[in-house]
Amino acid sequence: MFVWWRAVAVAAVVIVVSAGVASADIGAGVGADPITLPQPALPGREYSMPPVLVVNTGTEPSRYAVLVQRIRSGEQESIPKEWVQFGKNDFTLGPKESTTVPVKVSIPKDAKPGEYYTNIVVGTLAEGPAGGTALGARAATDLKLKVGEPRPAIPWPWPWWSYAALASAVALSGGMALSRRLGVSIQVERRT
């Protein structure tokens, strides 16, 4: 009798352990819509892009990193990593949890006009066992933009003399208009 109960107990432990070691998937998902700007970007400006949707499609919590890496080749210029900033990075998501990552793009003043492209890659930060091979799941979306022709540069702030010239012009034109309205003219004559 004692042996029978012991066998049942061992079987129960085996079942529990088996359930515990069920396959633990790791996964990464990303919003598939390309991240673009509706209008051409201007050199020297900074733009807030639509955020990146990140989803943990695995069955266990995972750490995620967001990075810029061009995966597909093409004719467009690559967007340098330095242009892109992420609102957050290296974060943890539970199973089936999702979040959004804000994206900003800074166009340098010397950026050449044209079509630009790269990929925003979201991936698990897997740490494999020492001597092992860590496997990573990553998902990528497109980041596209067009850099337009730079606008004529207007120095800012303006130099002091520009304010003086502007004030003089306003005062002169105002005075002329007022004198015309009042019918008053200024006559300068030499005193004899």
Partner: protein, 256 residues
């Protein structure tokens, strides 16, 4: 004696002329009339029946779809622990390979599944293998694209990894059965040699995973591939790695 020169400034008020054309006066009248109409519309009540016929509420639901591309792996790590000591040697169920001589190892399997709700292309990439000792020299991946192997050429005209190089490829796990030594039976001409439909892992830029599509074309969600890996180690090693016991590396899949 100098005569002083003086200037006299006079403000002369002339005849005030009434300016303004007929057109200007008409525009002024129009503006005044318009402003008066706007003002009256704010003060006077609207007829009680005004607009009532057209009021109503319609509730409409707009269904939104968020396309998501995602990839899932059945495990977070594998280990190249089934090895033969030297390339071309008899497979032995050793737990490691020689530090030189292009020993081969196998690892896996792992199931890679494209899920989400949008089709995507699957790319694969490896990384350099770092030794467990400080000051060691990492092995770089070779055999893919411009990352050429620099070792000797074997009997199959296959250039093997050179000094501090290694090569990893994936291959379908379908024939995976394990031979009497516990090694995966890889569907290649020789253990450790990639087949034409296998992908040799690049280090710098991801390459299309040929097990999903040889050209990197998108595949539908739900597509899954069960994969195993073959690896060939360096032909020779830097002396700095003489005391290294193991190397750590990574493999990642990217859906785009």
């Amino acid at each position: 004696m100098a005569t002083p020169i003086g200037l006299r400034v006079k403000l002369i008020r002339g005849r005030t002329e009434r300016r303004g054309s007929r057109r200007g006066q008409a525009l002024l009248r129009l503006a005044v009339t318009g402003l008066a109409a706007i003002g009256l519309s704010q003060v006077l009540p609207l007829p009680s029946a005004f607009g009532q016929t057209y009021y109503g509420t319609l509730t409409a639901t707009i269904q939104l779809f968020t396309p998501v591309k995602s990839i899932t792996l059945s495990t977070g790590s594998i280990s190249f622990s089934k090895c033969q000591t030297y390339h071309g040697g008899t497979p032995l169920a050793t737990t490691g390979m020689s530090r030189s001589g292009n020993g081969d190892c196998a690892a896996g399997p792992v199931t890679v599944t494209l899920n989400g709700n949008a089709a995507g292309s699957v790319y694969i990439q490896g990384s350099a293998a770092t030794p467990d000792i400080g000051g060691g020299v990492a092995w770089s991946l070779c055999g893919s694209g411009s990352e050429a192997c620099s070792g000797s050429v074997d009997s199959d005209s296959n250039t093997l990894p050179g000094q501090d190089q290694y090569r990893v490829f994936n291959t379908p796990a379908a024939p995976y059965s394990g031979n009497s030594d516990g090694l995966p039976t890889l569907p290649t001409s020789a253990f450790g040699l990639p087949g034409v439909n296998d992908t040799i892992l690049p280090q710098t830029t991801p390459a299309p995973d040929k097990l999903f599509d040889s050209s990197g074309n998108p595949v539908n969600p739900g597509t899954a591939k069960n994969q195993v890996f073959g690896m060939s180690g360096p032909g020779t090693q830097s002396t700095a790695n003489a005391t290294a016991n193991f190397f750590t590396t990574s493999i990642s899949w990217t859906v785009i």
